[in-house]
């Protein structure tokens, strides 16, 4: 029994963007790369899948396409060199990062089944729970009616804020993220049933860093025995275990 770290797209991308101009790097670079370095030093198993690698690479490339669109397509050798240097730097770092990891194969049909029958329903139920109106407070006597009204107003304000946030980013992740979680579940069950399985991510759809997403990691842990944490939190846990 040991620790296994499953690197999700966001953490893999962050670990690949370092010092693009002296000090400009991804704001989560240090912790993402730090986890990889720690895993390498402590011989902790790091794993990924082909779909994650492909997604991460697409993210790195798409961002550059966006910049080129904003700054207009380059037409001199110097400008081309500028953009190709960025692409080379991040993709070389990305290749170095995935070289620390084992790329594990998954079974496409089983992943689709897990997504349809377990992952989608879990997010769907969470979504329904979070959207549910908060229970109303009732005053036990007329004396507390005003207080109950205040509490209900605050609860409803908070609920409306939560719903507004959900308009910006839904509890239900897109299909790519659902497949990532399905792959993690598959690998946990098939390859690492007895290990502590971490999913390293910077995404609220897995780690639920802030409201209203905070219930997500608890649910994933409860149902699938997968601990979704930021690289920084995993670093702390592994360091504590080793000392």
């Amino acid at each position: 029994m040991g620790d296994v770290i499953f690197f999700e797209t966001s953490a893999l991308v962050a670990a690949s963007i370092k010092d693009l101009n002296g000090s400009i790097e991804h704001d989560r670079y240090a912790e993402s790369k730090g986890l990889l370095n720690l895993a390498s030093d402590t011989k902790t198993k790091c794993i990924t899948t082909l779909s994650i690698e492909e997604q991460a690479n697409k993210v790195l490339e798409k961002a550059l396409l966006d910049v080129m669109e904003l700054e207009k397509r380059p037409d001199t050798v110097e400008e081309f060199r500028k953009y190709s240097t960025i692409l080379d730097a991040v993709q070389r770092m990305y290749i170095e990062n995935i070289s620390f990891m084992d790329r594990l194969s998954t079974h496409k049909d089983t992943i689709a089944e897990i997504e349809d029958n377990e992952v989608y329903p879990m997010y769907d139920r969470l979504n329904a729970n979070i959207r549910e109106k908060p229970p109303k407070a009732y005053a036990v006597s007329n004396k507390f009616k005003g207080l109950a009204r205040d509490i209900n107003r605050d609860l409803m304000d908070e609920h409306r804020k939560k719903l507004d946030k959900l308009k910006e980013k839904s509890i239900m992740p897109d299909s790519k993220d659902r497949i990532i979680l399905s792959e993690a579940i598959y690998l946990k069950r098939e390859r690492f049933p007895r290990d502590t399985f971490y999913l390293s991510s910077l995404d609220n759809h897995f780690c639920g860093f802030k409201s209203p997403f905070t219930q997500i990691p608890e649910k994933i842990k409860e149902i699938f025995s997968i601990t979704c944490l930021s690289p920084q939190r995993i670093i702390r846990l592994i360091t504590d275990k080793k000392t």
């Binding site: 080129m68 700054e71 960025i86 692409l87």
Partner: protein
Amino acid sequence: MTDIFNKVSIGVLDSLEKRKISEEFLSMCREALTELKKFQLTAMRYPDSINALKLFSASDTCYLVLQKSISELEQAKARGENPTTLEKLQDVLLYVCSIGKELDYIFNKKVGVEVTKIRKETFELQEKAEGLNLLDKIDIRVNSLPGKTAATYISRIEV
């Protein structure tokens, strides 16, 4: 023209065997350099932007490495050196030839682009050339980029 990279790779092995850097060999290298310059410009016109950058990077890396190598070989020849410089450079020169042949195939034979192999070889060549000081290290090259472009790039990362 299209065989130039084959000629250079044979020239490398031939020169090593004869332990001599000939003017004929240097002339072939210069011809290959001209071809790589053309590849740079062709890559810049490639319709798919990401593949254009990857093909440009391959051409540009080969161009910069070969340019520096020619300069070192010319100095070695002027010193009348037994080809220790060529021995040092043979690996990178053979990489340049291999990538050059691939680029020629893509640009002149108009076949579908499969950049995976060329990309892998480009990164291997960059690492080897950086180790031999034929190319600035990627950290240095990337540090000289305009801050605005770097910041915009990071701001466009979406996961």
